[in-house]
Amino acid sequence: MSLAATPLDDKAAALVARLRAGEALALSKAITALENDLPEAGALIGALRPHLGHGLSIGVTGPPGVGKSTLVNGLIGQFRAQARSVGVVAVDPSSPLSGGAILGDRVRMTDHGSDPEVFIRSLASRGHLGGLAPTAARVVDALDAAGKEVVLIETVGAGQSEIEIAAVADIKIVVLAPGLGDEMQALKAGILEIADILVVNKADRPLAEQTASQLKAMLSLRAPARRDVPVLLTAATDGQGLEALVAEIDRLGVPPDRAARRRARTRQLLAGVAADLLRERLLADDDPAVEALCDQVERGTLALDQAARRTLEGS
């Protein structure tokens, strides 16, 4: 940033000034630029940086159908009752066939459809480099810089990349529904690991208590440092348990090692994008050097890991 300001820098600075002043249209356009890596995106990231770190970000993830959107809707209500401004990033999957998407999560957040202190933006998962997580992180930053005191990120925890999106947040909430049974075993490895808070939603249904105890039993098998994850019961449709959830969120608050975590996260994101770029380069079938390496591997004259190391040379 030691170079002279370019027109793109000016444009970014103007946009950031306007979104900082509370102009929703500027925020919306900034998000579009960041999401799509429009020419001003780089300059925008720089211009946002001095204004980051004031809000608390909360990731909400879990299997489909557990009521995440309804829970987010309820949480928005709780934060608004405390007069805290709220940003929401709602992630929906893109169709692998067409690349298009139906963005319908915010449909269930309509309680706040006309509150100017709530800004909701839907993102399609698309085919982003490194998954959607790097992009989601930028969008969260834009909402943070715009002064949103709380930023919620909602995503379906159906696969690793969705879990990474939620992991962008300061606090990760994993939502489950009663009676998941076998699914719960499968969850053990992936999704539960990132949870700072576990929520059993739809607590008005049978088996809610039982599911909560099952979760606690699973947690007790963990390393001591990760054992004390709270397990809460909510019924988001009628607001039950939401106050306790918000109290728990505030008790955890901004993690003390936020800077270190942010750096670790940046490193993760960097690794993700770099891996994607490399994969793309290696899978393109027009590079004679890669062809030559493949020949050697197939003839058995070069080990696979050695060949892989060579592809990194000169990258």
Binding site: S28, I102, G113, I120
Partner: protein
């Protein structure tokens, strides 16, 4: 997957219904058509208020708003056009689909609606129309003057 700089931005479209009627077969089919044509569609259930639609369009940075109307809810659309203009969203193209009598169609076009799609319109016509309007909307947007 292509590199960042080469990626194109799919059109973003809000498919909605304002007013009191709840028949959503048409809006659901159109939303699916647009998704299948590679667009990103923000979909709402029926009965949205004007203010809500404007806020949605603003936050989601959509290029086109498609409003489905089967009874008389299209009568509210001139109010929507005014509200969009006031919110600095005059660049967004609004299309209407459903049952709109001829006389009312002229009124809607005069209020700034880009096109009215009538029953019998084909998938291709809808997709091509919305794509063209999305490009128009992007070209028409100017950050300096919008506020």
């Amino acid at each position: 997957m292509t590199a960042f700089s080469e990626r194109t931005r799919p059109p973003r479209v809000l498919v909605t219904k304002v007013g009191l009627d709840g028949h959503d077969r048409g809006s659901r089919i159109v939303a699916a058509y647009l998704r299948d044509a590679g667009m990103e569609v923000v979909y709402t259930p029926p009965w949205q208020g004007i203010e809500r639609v404007v806020k949605l369009a603003l936050e989601e940075d959509v290029d086109v708003i498609g409003v489905s109307s089967l009874s008389t809810d299209h009568l509210l659309i001139p109010q929507l056009m005014t509200a969009l203009g006031q919110a600095g969203l005059g660049h967004i193209r609004v299309v209407v689909g459903g049952i709109v009598p001829d006389g009312d169609e002229a009124e809607l076009l005069a209020a700034g609606v880009a096109q009215v799609f009538h029953p019998g319109v084909t998938r291709e016509e809808i997709v091509a129309g919305v794509e063209a309007f999305a490009l128009e909307a992007r070209a028409a947007f100017d950050l300096e003057t919008a506020s």
